[in-house]
């Protein structure tokens, strides 16, 4: 029944934002921001369970801990980036939202560098005389 709670919070928040927007549009934006935060916090509790499952599966499959940590970090960066970009786009600043998305992509690549080097080193070790 969690989805019902989340949907009703969303509907109530949109009604409140519509009412407040007529009088004070900056505070209406804060209502939107807080709605996003509340739903995100709610979802994070569920995500913890999923991540535990992923870690256990990785341990059972003998995947190195560094790789799983990197992947989780990348997922986290992606969530934060998406959150920030959508909020900024809601505020009417789509140029800054595009920059936030670009920064997210670049930071994800920087985090993934150890995995990339591992892949490249593996390929190099296959090459004869390399």
């Amino acid at each position: 029944m969690d989805i019902i709670i989340i949907v009703s919070i969303g509907i109530v928040a949109s009604l409140l934002a519509l009412i407040v927007k007529e009088q004070n549009s900056s505070i209406a934006f804060f209502v939107v921001v807080v709605t996003g935060i509340i739903i995100f916090l709610f979802i994070l509790q569920k995500i913890t369970g999923i991540l535990l499952l992923i870690e256990q599966l990785g341990e059972r499959a003998n995947v190195e801990g560094l790789y799983i940590k990197t992947i989780l970090k990348i997922i986290g960066i992606a969530y934060i980036t998406e959150f920030g970009a959508h909020l900024t786009r809601d505020a009417g600043l789509s140029a800054i939202a595009a920059k936030i998305e670009l920064a997210g992509k670049i930071i994800i690549i920087t985090v993934a560098i150890p995995i990339l080097t591992a892949v490249i080193e593996t390929i190099m070790s296959f090459m004869p005389g390399g």
Binding site: I5, I19, V20, N24, I27, F30, V33, I38, Y79
Partner: protein, 68 residues
């Protein structure tokens, strides 16, 4: 969960009350104080939202292993 959602009503309430105070002060001819009230309401809500936002970021950090 309902406690979390109360913040929404709090913020919307602050917004409406500030708007009413702004209108009343404007009718009384005190433009500057009206502007100041709006600014203070904005800062008050900003503080609430910032506290919530930092909580969210801390939670994300702890869930996605950014510390380790």
């Amino acid at each position: 969960m309902l406690g979390e959602a109360m913040i929404l009503f709090q913020i919307a309430g602050i917004g409406m009350i500030v708007a009413i105070i702004h209108t009343v002060l404007k009718q009384m001819g005190k433009e500057e104080i009206a502007q100041f009230t709006t600014l203070m309401g904005f800062i008050l809500v900003l503080l609430i939202v910032l506290g919530k936002l930092s909580e969210l970021f801390q939670q994300i950090k702890s869930v996605f292993l950014f510390q380790g």
